[in-house]
Structure formats: C-alpha cells, structure tokens
C-alpha cells in the first residue's frame, strides 16, 4: 500500500482505479467498475461472471440482446451528479393483461450511489431508494384502487402488485444476479400527482422502498450526456419497442456493436471527438459570422447630421481666371483658416481650377471629442471622375478642417473590367462642440480629361457624427470573415469524411 499525501484539509482523495478482471470463459479483460462489483456480464462472450476476491467464476452464458436505448457507460447528470449506465436489466411480468416487460438501467455514481431509470408501460421512470414505509400490514395484498398513506404523510393509491422475473442482464452489478431471479412488487400512484409513484419491492430476505417520478423526454434529453449523434434525441420508445413478449425490435439504437472490443471503443471515442471538434468548428464559424455582422453594423453606427446631394448644373461655377503674375494670393471666401490650411503657393504645373460647383451646406451641430465621418457617393459615375474639396467651417468662418475626396470610375479591359471607386469616406476629429457647415467645391469631368468642369453626375455627401473609427472594425471584420470561411470549410470538408470513418 502507498500512503496518499495529505493536504491541509486532510488526505487527498485516492484515485478511482478500476481493476481488470479476466473473463474465465473467453479470457477477455474486463474493467471492474467498483470494488462493490460482484457480478459482470462479459462484453465479449456474454458470460455471466461472479467476481470473487481473486478470480471470476462463470455462472452462465446468455445470448446478447439489442435494441436498448442506452449503452453501458452512457452518462447522465441528475441533480448535479454524474451517473453512468452500469447495468441493463429486463424484467418480465405476467398479469391478467398478459405479458409485459420493463427495461431497467442501473445508473451508478461512486459518490452518489444508484438510481434506476426504467422504461415501463410507455413511460420513463427515475427511481431512488428511500426508507419511508406504507401504513399497511401487507402492501402486496391490497385491492386495486385502495388508498394508502406512507409514514411521511403522503397519500397514495394502490395500482398493482405482481412479480417481475429477471429475463436479461448485462453490465456490472454490486450483487450477483441470476436470470430467473424474482422480485415481488407493489406499485402506488400519488393521490394528487400523477407523475409520482411509490413502490415496495421484496425479494428473499430484503424489502426495499422506491420513490419514483415520471421523467419527461425533455428531462431525459437534458440529463443524457451521450456524445453519440444518433442518440442526441431521446428515444421514442413507444415506436421502437418490440412486442411485449420479450422480443424487442432492433429499431432502437443499436449499441451492442458499439460497446464491442476496446479498440472499437477507442475508435468510437476518436470519432466522437472528431465530431465534437467539427461541431465546435461550425459553432465557431457562426460566431465569426456574427462578429462580422456586428463589426459591419458598428461601422455604420452614428448619427447623420447632414445629407446633401449636389446635382450637376444647378450651381453655375464662378468664373475662375488664373491670377495675374505677381498678384497677392487671396482667399476668395475670406476664410479665417486654421493651422491645417495649406498656404503654400500653387504648383505652376497643375492646371488651374476652373469650373465645378461651390456651395455652403446647411449648418449642423457636432459634439466635442467626436469622430465625424463624411461619406461621398456618386453611384452613377461611369467613365468619369469627380473631386470634392471640403472645408469644415466652425461658426461663420473658421475652417477647422480642409478635406478632399476623389471618385472615379472607368470600364477597363477583360482582365480588369472595372476600376476606381464610386464612394469615398473621410474622417475628421472634432475637438470643439458647436455649429458647423461645409464649404464644398465639387468638380469633375467625363472621359479621361484632367481639365475640371462641372460634376458629371450627382454626388451625395453624408456626414455622420459619433462614428466609430473604421480601421479596427475593418480588421475585426476581415479576421472574422477569414476565420468563418476557414472553419466552415473545415466543417464541410471533414464532416462527410468523419461520417464515413465512423461508419
């Protein structure tokens, strides 16, 4: 024995390490689930084994049975505790209505004990042992409909009594089970709750009491922790159950093969992991797409303070003539310019600015320390260009920003059918709150002439305040888009292959 280290709060819990048991019939190695395990059905040869301290003794052999909804080791979570299917049992009952059977899954947890999940008479039932007893001398000898109370004060109606006979068992149990074992039972229904049952069971030397409740499909779905796609939906037992004479159909989940040899289970685990990752990839792709949409939405955020469409010909351009040599440079609008205005002399190589449209827009209010986004758009621009010079004017005559945007759109050749933007976006940081307007000068030309004239098509200026800086949003959108495409691609490519491999 090796001592396990202690912590400040006592000894560390020893690891749960199932021991291996060799099947005496076929030599297959089985894992003993618990040191309480007294009985194991070999998953390879279906031999029924009684486990002793040293070796396993073969009690009998039985034919495997298929058609169970849950496999050995399938997991459930009830009330925050994890349970696995440790054993599956089929009990047959004979009464005046004929033969019927109950499928019972023993759900085991090394920390919380045992629950029983039964499929009986078209219902899923979850039961646990209690010690509350009925106020009657013999619960197995009551007449149908008899009223009985239990010592905790609950009222019950007697439903039926009978004897169940164990017809099939697999998995492992903390007691030795033998096909043909008989259990006497008496079932009661709660007087005021049709979903609550109570049962007294008696076999040789022991009487047990169960509190039972009907489990809905939704509860079962929530509790089942299986990773198998084919069983992600809870079983519709009424559709898959065979006849009531103990000959179930194969229509339900076929699990016998799944729980075959260890290598199959490892492969199955690998496939389950692959499927899980693929689904996670799909989920991540959806998240990325959502992120992309949100980034796009955020990029459009803000409050529109101005929309102005400038139409060609409505504003006759002032006659602009080149200034005579030596004449003092003059600001035609007597703008009181800010620091950002370029006062350098005009480039003599540049053609003189002639034509175009110049106008003042309506005023609008801008808050302090905000980003102003100016969108320029000429959607019908074709084989032409347009240039927009903007002065953002604070109050009457203080130009705080001198901005410009260029639009051009030309039809190219076959390799590059279109070029040039029909839209442009300009940003301006506003420090001072107050009333602003634009002094706008637009000009353009059709064809590829550089000589400006009137704008060839309408140009719309939209100013939006409280805008978001587009650069990080664009990066986010681009990354999200790429990630979504890659993940979705992985899902589409890998999923059929994973299905094939699993098959």
């Amino acid at each position: 024995m090796t001592e396990v280290p202690r912590t400040s709060q006592g000894r560390v819990r020893p690891k749960l390490t199932p021991r291996e048991v060799k099947c005496s019939a076929c030599g297959g190695m089985l894992l003993e689930r618990s040191d309480d395990t007294r009985f194991v059905v070999c998953r390879y040869c279906n031999a029924h084994l009684e486990l002793g301290q040293v070796e396993a003794r073969v009690l009998s052999k039985a034919a495997p049975r298929h058609g169970f909804d849950y496999a050995i080791d399938d997991a459930f979570v009830w009330n925050g505790g994890r349970y696995v299917v440790a054993a599956r049992m089929v009990f047959t009952q004979s009464d005046e209505d004929g033969a019927s059977e109950t499928i019972e899954y023993l759900l085991w947890s090394p920390r919380r004990g045992t629950l029983y999940l039964d499929f009986d008479d078209g219902r899923w039932l979850l039961s646990r042992m209690v010690h509350v007893m009925p106020r009657c001398d013999d619960p197995f000898a009551l007449a149908e409909g008899a009223s009985v109370s239990t010592y905790d004060g609950d009222a019950w109606t007697f439903v039926e009594s009978g004897t169940g006979t164990l017809a099939y068992v697999d998995g492992s149990l903390p007691w030795v089970a033998t096909v043909g074992d008989r259990v006497q039972y008496a079932t009661f229904r709660a007087a005021h709750d049709g979903h609550k049952l109570y049962e007294v069971e008696r076999d040789a030397g022991e009487t047990e009491f169960c509190e039972i409740r009907v489990v809905s499909q939704a509860e079962l779905r929530a509790a089942a922790q299986t990773k198998h796609d084919e069983r992600s939906e809870p079983p519709d037992r009424t559709a898959s159950r065979g006849d009531s004479s103990g000959n179930p159909s194969e229509g339900a989940a076929s699990e016998g093969e799944r729980s075959g040899n260890p290598s199959e289970r490892v492969a199955e685990g690998a496939h389950a992991t692959t499927r899980w990752f693929l689904w996670m990839a799909l989920v991540a792709a959806v998240f990325c797409l959502t992120n992309l949409a949100l980034a796009s939405q955020a990029a459009r955020e803000g409050r529109v303070v101005l929309t102005k469409t400038i139409v060609p010909g409505l504003h006759p351009p002032p006659a602009v003539t080149p200034a005579p040599p030596g004449a003092p440079e003059e600001d035609p609008d007597d703008l009181e310019t800010g620091d950002v205005i370029d006062n350098s002399p005009p480039d003599p190589e540049e053609p003189p600015i002639v034509g175009g449209v110049e106008l003042n827009t309506d005023s609008f209010q801008l808050p302090a320390k905000s980003l102003l986004r100016i969108d320029l758009a000429a959607p019908t621009l074709n084989e032409a260009w347009a240039s927009i010079d903007l002065a953002l004017v604070y109050g009457d005559d203080l130009a705080t920003h001198i901005l410009d945007g260029d639009l051009a759109h030309y039809n190219g050749d076959e390799d590059d059918p279109e070029e040039g933007p029909r839209t442009d976006t300009i940003l301006a940081w506003i420090e001072q709150p107050g009333t602003y307007h634009f002094l706008v000068r637009v000009m353009g030309a059709k064809g590829d002439t550089e000589t400006p004239g009137d704008i060839p098509v309408p140009v719309t200026i939209t100013a939006t305040t409280d805008a978001r800086a587009p650069s990080p949003l664009h990066h986010m959108a681009i990354v999200s888009g790429i990630a979504a495409a890659v993940l979705f691609g992985i899902f589409l490519i890998r999923r059929p292959r994973a299905k094939e491999e699993a098959a």
Binding site: G10, R11, P14, K15, R38, P110, G113, H131, T207, F209
Partner: protein
C-alpha cells in the same frame, strides 16, 4: 492521553496514532492488521487492505457532518453475501466519535445504544412488516442476513478479525428518517440507532470533482 509513536511490527514503518480510542490499525505500507494486546503492539498475521477510491468517504477524508467537522479514521468492510457495506469510523474535532454506514452510497450515522439488554430475536416477516422499538422509536425491519468482515483500513476502536461473522438485522423508522442495526455478535446483541443522511448532510473537503 498523548499521541502514540509506534512502528508496524510487520514491516517497521512508523505510525503516529493520535486517537486514544484506537485499538487497531492497518499499516498503510504493508497492509498488516495491527492491534494492541495487553499493551503490546502485535501483528495479527492478516492482511486487511481494502481497495480505495470507489466510496464517497475515504480514509483520512475530512469534512463536515451536519456542520460538525470530522476526520475519517478508519473503515471496516462487511460482506452480506450478495454485496458489501462499509462502516466508517469518524472522529469529530471535539473528540466525539461516530460510525457512518455507507451501503451502496446510502449513508446513515449511528451510535451504539448503551444498556439495551432486552433485544429479542427478530422473527422473519410473514406477510407483514416486522416491528421493533428502541428508545421510543418504532422501527420496521428491512433486511436480515449474515455479515462477514472482509477487510479494514486505518484506525479502529476495536479489534476486527477477517472472516469473523455475525448475524444482523437492519431497519428504519417508518418515516424513513432513522436507522437501526442489530448485531448478534455478543450477548446481549449490540443495537445501533441513527439517522439516514441526505447527500448534502455530509460535505467532504475533497468530494472528487471527477464525479460531482
């Protein structure tokens, strides 16, 4: 009484026994069952080791039982033929001790009734529940059988010998709150009475996150 520093008479491993009520322990290194006999520490010659990890409680586990801090000192495992149950020996921080029975992870805490001398043989059920009454509490018998001690670990307040057998009867109060155990290993039989515990009545410092 102060803690006792002793060495396992089988393998020589040192051991510190703090509980003055300890009359037997199982060596953590060699699994030998060691007991005190007229002041001498002796090895019983039996290996009493038990596998660990499958029970909710475990040797050395600390926690609270209904708010009272305890340390799990030892365990005795009994077989009833078709299965097992464990008796955990708890020592509380105030020095009190108790036995906690874990049967298929159902837990009850019991204490021995002193001075019970009139325990009649419990008859087998014949179509109805068999009743018994101790200290004003009515009990109904749920189970009877023969127990065999098949292992022990940690420190215990009495000497158990592997293979010892005795007859027992277990029951509960009809409201499901109290438990009773009658052990026919002495004359008169020993009677233990206690309470069934809910899972949340016992809070361990290390519950084992793998299964919670």
């Amino acid at each position: 009484m102060t803690a006792r520093e002793i060495n396992c008479p089988n393998c020589g491993a040192p051991r510190r026994v703090e509980n003055p009520g300890t009359l037997m322990f199982v060596c953590e290194y060699c699994g030998a069952a060691v007991y005190w006999d007229e002041g001498q520490v002796r090895a019983s010659g039996q290996k009493a080791a038990l596998t660990e990890g499958f029970t909710r409680l475990y040797r050395g586990a600390t926690g609270r039982l209904r708010g009272k801090r305890f340390t799990t000192e030892g365990r005795v495992r009994y077989s009833f033929g078709r299965g097992f149950w464990d008796e955990w020996y708890l020592r509380f921080d105030d020095g009190a001790t108790a036995w906690l029975t874990e049967d298929n992870h159902e837990i009850c805490v019991e204490a021995k009734l002193a001075g019970v001398t009139d325990v009649a043989e419990v008859p087998p059920p014949q179509g109805s529940f068999t009743r018994a009454s101790f200290r004003g509490i009515d009990f109904m018998i749920e189970e009877r059988g023969e127990a065999e001690c098949i292992g022990a670990e940690g420190e215990l307040p009495f000497v158990v010998r592997l293979g010892e057998t005795y007859r027992y009867v277990d029951g509960s109060s009809p409201d499901g709150k109290h438990s009773v155990g009658i052990e026919y290993d002495a004359d008169p039989p020993n009677v233990f009475v206690g309470d069934w515990l809910r899972h949340e009545d016992v809070a361990l410092d290390d519950e084992g996150e793998d299964w919670t």
